[in-house]
């Protein structure tokens, strides 16, 4: 198989165009926590009960033709690299991998839907889409929820809503988030100011790489804090409208950078980053993330003649350790990784159709 064919296979299926507001919003994601009555929550359940969960989901999937293209994979049937690839594609959490026995994941064909089995809750139904499409992601997760609730006896209380292992998720069981790229706000020193307002309206912010409000790659995740007392539509609506305001701020910062003498500096910075990525022979993942952030901004702002936003976004995934090693087809030492990472970046940037 050619490298490009391999790359296509290892990229997350959901990462595709069109991506509305994709110049700033990387992805939109919805997760619903659901549990089954009469079965202890995963951390408190025995092997028999955990298997019962997997069996019940398996049976539910077979009961509807709507699940025809869904596949249930057991984690204990996969090797560790393949499991980590799922994490790197944003399909499952790292927590699910802590104890692979009696854990599983259900995926649809384009990987926009992923159901984690026996993570903190019996089910975590995830729907993920590129760009700002949170409402669509919610509708897709809800549809899956509706198909499953016909077959599964979900734990629900009239007063408390959907019952979850952790009281912080009880109610809707909904965690909705968007991943936004804010390099221009960072450059003008305003990113903290803009993001620090979000907790006041009940939203969390964290850096996608590393914790806190500082993030390598200038990628930040915005999500809802509470799950009780607000309806799903209210939560989704709030995140979408706040995200739109954040987008406006980032666009204003980009315009300001273009309008002033800083334009030359900006063009210099993003093109230098592109130069490094297209010519390096050894590159660490830390440096790559920083450069990719600059190149992504440059690409979506049409400041780099040959770079294409989608190709750059794909690289954020291809350089991750497990995906990279799958791509090369063998275990790589950290030193070798720096070498192959540089090679994959060069090769992939050369495929930009511009």
């Amino acid at each position: 198989m050619s490298l490009e064919a391999q790359i296509k296979r290892l990229l997350p299926g959901w990462l595709k165009e069109p991506a509305p507001d994709g110049d700033i919003v990387f992805s939109s994601r919805v997760r619903l926590a659901r549990n089954i009555n009469q079965i202890s929550f995963p951390y408190h359940a025995g092997e028999v009960q955990l298997e019962e969960v997997i069996d019940q989901i398996g049976a539910a999937l077979k009961s509807s033709s709507q699940f025809e293209n869904f596949v249930l994979q057991r984690l204990d049937d996969m090797d560790q690299h393949d499991r980590v690839v799922l994490v790197e594609k944003y399909l499952v959490s790292l927590d699910l991998l802590k104890n692979p026995a009696h854990r599983g994941v259900v995926l649809n064909q384009d990987e926009t839907v992923a159901i984690m089995l026996n993570e903190e809750d019996h089910l975590r139904i995830q729907s993920i889409l590129p760009g700002l499409q949170l409402k669509k992601a919610w509708e897709s997760a809800e549809q899956i929820d509706q198909l499953l609730e016909v077959k599964l006896d979900f734990a629900f209380d009239e007063e408390k809503g959907y019952l979850t292992t952790c009281p912080t998720n009880v109610g809707t069981g909904l965690r909705a988030s968007v991943l936004v790229h804010l390099p221009a706000l960072k450059m003008v020193g305003q990113v903290k100011k803009v993001l620090s307002v979000l907790p006041n309206v009940g939203l969390n912010v964290r850096g996608a790489y590393g914790e806190g409000t500082d993030s390598a790659g200038d990628l930040y995740q915005i999500s809802n804090q509470v799950t009780l007392g607000l309806s799903e539509e209210e939560v989704i609506g709030k995140i979408v409208s706040v995200t739109k305001q954040v987008i406006d701020q980032e666009r204003a910062a980009r315009d300001a950078l273009l309008a002033n003498e800083s334009r030359l500096q900006l063009e210099n910075r993003v093109n230098r980053a592109y130069g490094l990525l297209t010519h390096s022979r050894l590159i660490s993942s830390e440096e790559t993330i920083k450069l990719l952030s600059d190149v992504l901004m440059g690409a979506v702002m049409n400041l780099i003649p040959k770079a294409e936003g989608q190709t750059v976004k794909e690289l954020f995934f291809l350089i991750r350790p497990a995906i990279l090693q799958k791509l090369i087809g063998r275990e790589l030492s950290p030193g070798e990784r720096d070498h192959y990472r540089a090679a994959v970046i060069r090769e992939h940037l050369a495929t930009s159709s511009k």
Partner: protein, 174 residues
Amino acid sequence: MWCERCKKRQATVHVTKIVNNHKTESHLCEVCANETGQELGFLFEPNFSFHHLLAGLLENEFGVKSETLTERQALGIEKCPTCGLTFTDFRKIGLMGCADCYHTFAEYLNPLLRRIHGSISHTGKVPHNIGGRIRTRKELEVLRRRLKEAIKREAYEEAAQLRDEIKAKEAELK
């Protein structure tokens, strides 16, 4: 630079971690990095247990004295009949054992939920198999709240539409 663990080989893996605003750097060779699991690098999450924080909230909020708890445990009141989780367990780990725990520990839970969510009642989606009346009542709550907000915003056209929807739902309940 030499590996800080074995001090014998070149350090090739450099990891910076920030845990609770405290920055730590480690420089390891490939062998030691593999042994200590550092290879997953940026996939690591800081070791900050939210559940312990929750348990702390519980203590604070109720001022529940341990003696009273032990007495009640002795009477067998504080154990979930379905899954066997005790209230002491819950206080330690901050997690429920099964769906019925929400019923068993209900009296302790409301203040905690109010602390976390600022609310104690669900106004969102209701499973279809739970029955239409509950769902309609929940939907009514949401509509009424939206009506209030619409009036506050002086969005009267939207308010009129919401009022009609509320009337229709109320009729369903009769």
